[in-house]
Amino acid sequence: MFLNAILLALREICRNLMRSFLTILGIVIGVAAVITMVTLGNGATQAVADQISSLGSNLLILRPGQRLGPGRDGVSVPRFRIADAEAISSQVASLQAVAPVVNSGATLVAGNENWSSAINGTTNDYLIAGNWTLATGRAFSEDEEKLGRAVCIIGETVRAKLFKGQDPIGSPLRVKNFSCEVIGLLASKGQGAMGMDQDDMVIIPIRTAQRRFTGNQNVSTILVSMKDGVDSARVIEQIGDLMRERRKLADHEEDNFNIQDTKQIAQTLSGAIGTLTTMFGAVAAVSLLVGGIGIMNIMLVSVTERTREIGIRLAIGALEHEVLLQFLIEAVALSAFGGLVGIVLALLACPFLADLMQVPFVFDPFINLLSFGFSAAIGVLFGYMPARKAASLDPIEALRHE
C-alpha cells in the first residue's frame, strides 16, 4: 500500500513536470545556497590555515613598534639589529631557527630579461623558519653570510621569468646595481591564500642587503621558529623580556615592539571566517524555509485544483489515509528531489566559485546530508497541511467541484 502511494505520487509529479519544477525551485535554490555558503566558508578557513602554515610552523614574527598596520609608531622607534636575533637564538631555549630579515625590492636583470621582485636579506635560518626547501643548488656558506657576499637564492617564479629553460645555478643575476651569483633555487610553494606569489622572491645574505640596499644596520623583522610542542606563550614572554632588557625599557614603559604568533593569527582568522560562514549559512537556511513555504503554497493550490480528482479517488474507494499519504509523499518527494538537485547544483558551482575566490574546494558530506535531510523534513512539515485538507474532502462535494 505504501508502494502504491509512492507510485501514485510519482505519477502525479511526472504528469505536471512544469509545475513540479517550479515547486521545487525554492528548495533547489535554498539547498544550493546553504551548501555553497558553507563549502566556500570551509574553503576560506582551510585557505587561511594553509597560508599560515606555509609561512612556517610554530612561527613568531617580531616587528618594531607597538602594533601592525598603517599609523604605526614613527621612525623614532628603535629598529632591531642582527645582534638582537643572535641574542634570542643564544638565550631563549627550545627554538629551531631565528632569522633576521631585511625586506626590500628591486629590478632583476639576467641576460635580456628583467623582472621586479621582492628581495629578502636574511640568513639560512629563514629557510627553516619559512619551511623552504632547495630544489637545486645550496644554501649560504658561513663566509657568505658573515662577509655579505654577492650570492643569492631565487624563487621558482624568478627562475621562470629570467632564466626560462636554463639552469640558473652559477649564472650571474643583476640585482638593482650589483651582480650576484645564483647559488640555489627554492622548491615552489605556489600561491598563498590571498593570491600572492610566494615564489616571487630572491634571498640574499642579510649583510649584503644591509650594505648594498639599506645602508644601515637595521633589521625589518625577526622570524622565530619554535620547536614542535613548545608553549608559545612562554616563549613569547621570554623573548619579550629579553627585548625589553636589550631596549632598556623601564617598568612603566610599554613594549616598543610586537611579537605575533602565526598560530594565533590563524585561529583568530579561522574563528572570524567560521562565524561568517555560520551567518551566511543561516541566511541561506532561511531561503530554504521560504522554499518550504513555496511547496506548501503550491500543494494547497494543487489540492484545490485537483479537488475533483480527489473526489474520484475517494468515490472509487480510496481511504482517507491513502489520499493523505499520496499528497504527503508527493510533497516529500518533491522537496527531497529539490534537495538532490540543489546538492548537484552546489557541487557543480562550488569548484568553480572556489577557484574564483582562490580558496580550496573542501567537500563536506555532513552539510550535504544535513541539507538533504532538512529539505525532506520541510516536505513533511509543509506537505502535511495540504495533504490533510485533501484527505478530509467530502467525496460528494469534491465531485461536484468545478
Binding site: E309, I316, G317
Partner: protein
Amino acid sequence: MSVSEASGNTDDASKPADAPLIAFQGITKTYGQGQTAFLALRGVDLTIHAGEFLAIMGPSGSGKSTAMNILGCLDTPSAGAYLFQGAHVEHLDRNQRALLRRHYLGFVFQGFNLLARTSAQENVELPLLYRGEAPEKRHEAALAALALVGLSGWEHHTPAELSGGQQQRVAIARAIVTQPLVLLADEPTGNLDSKRSHEIMELLVRLNQEQQITVLMVTHEPDMAKYAYRNVHFVDGVVSSDSREEALPCS
C-alpha cells in the same frame, strides 16, 4: 472482505439467503438544522434485487441524487435502515464506506471524471491500484475491461484524445474493472449527443445482461429510462411510482 465484516456483523450465516441486494427502509435525509432544515428524503422504501436495471427519475430537487449518493455509500441517511446484501450499512464510518465502495460498487458520472493527462489504461487501473492488485493483474484486468466496452487499441490515449462517448466508455470500464455487484450511473448520458447516448445505454444493457451487474441509473431523459427494466420516480423526497416492464430479462 464481505459487507458483513465492513459493517461489523461478523455472523455471515445470519443473513437471509434470499435477502435483496439493496433494501432502503424508511430512509430520510435532512440537510441543515432547525428552521432552515431541508428534508431531501422523507422516508424512502426501496428494494433492489441482484441483476436489476433500475432507472431513477424525477424533477430536480426530488431527492433522486440524494438517494443515489446514499445508495452509493457516498453519504449516510439521517434515519432509516440501509441493508446491503442483508447487512446494515447505514452507520458505517467514512473508511468503512470507502472499503465497501472499493469492493462492491462501481461509479459512472455525468462528467466522465477521468484523470486528466492519464492514459485510458491507467484510469481503468486506478481502482485496482487501491485494491492493491499486482501490476500484471491490473494490466490484464484493465485491458479486458477496455475490450468489454469496445475500446481495444485505445489504451494509451489520454481523455483529451478521446471523444465524449469514448471517455464515458473508459469511465464505465473503470467502474466494472473490479467486477462490482452494483454499477451506479449518475446521468451517464447527460453530456452526450443522442447517438452516443444510445450507444452508452446499449453498453449498460449488455453489461447488465452479460455480466449480471446490477445497474442503478439516475436520469431525467425518458428515452434513456426506457432501456431500464424498472423505473422509479421520485417526487418531493418520496417514491411516487415504481413501474416494472413485464418481461424481466434475467433472473
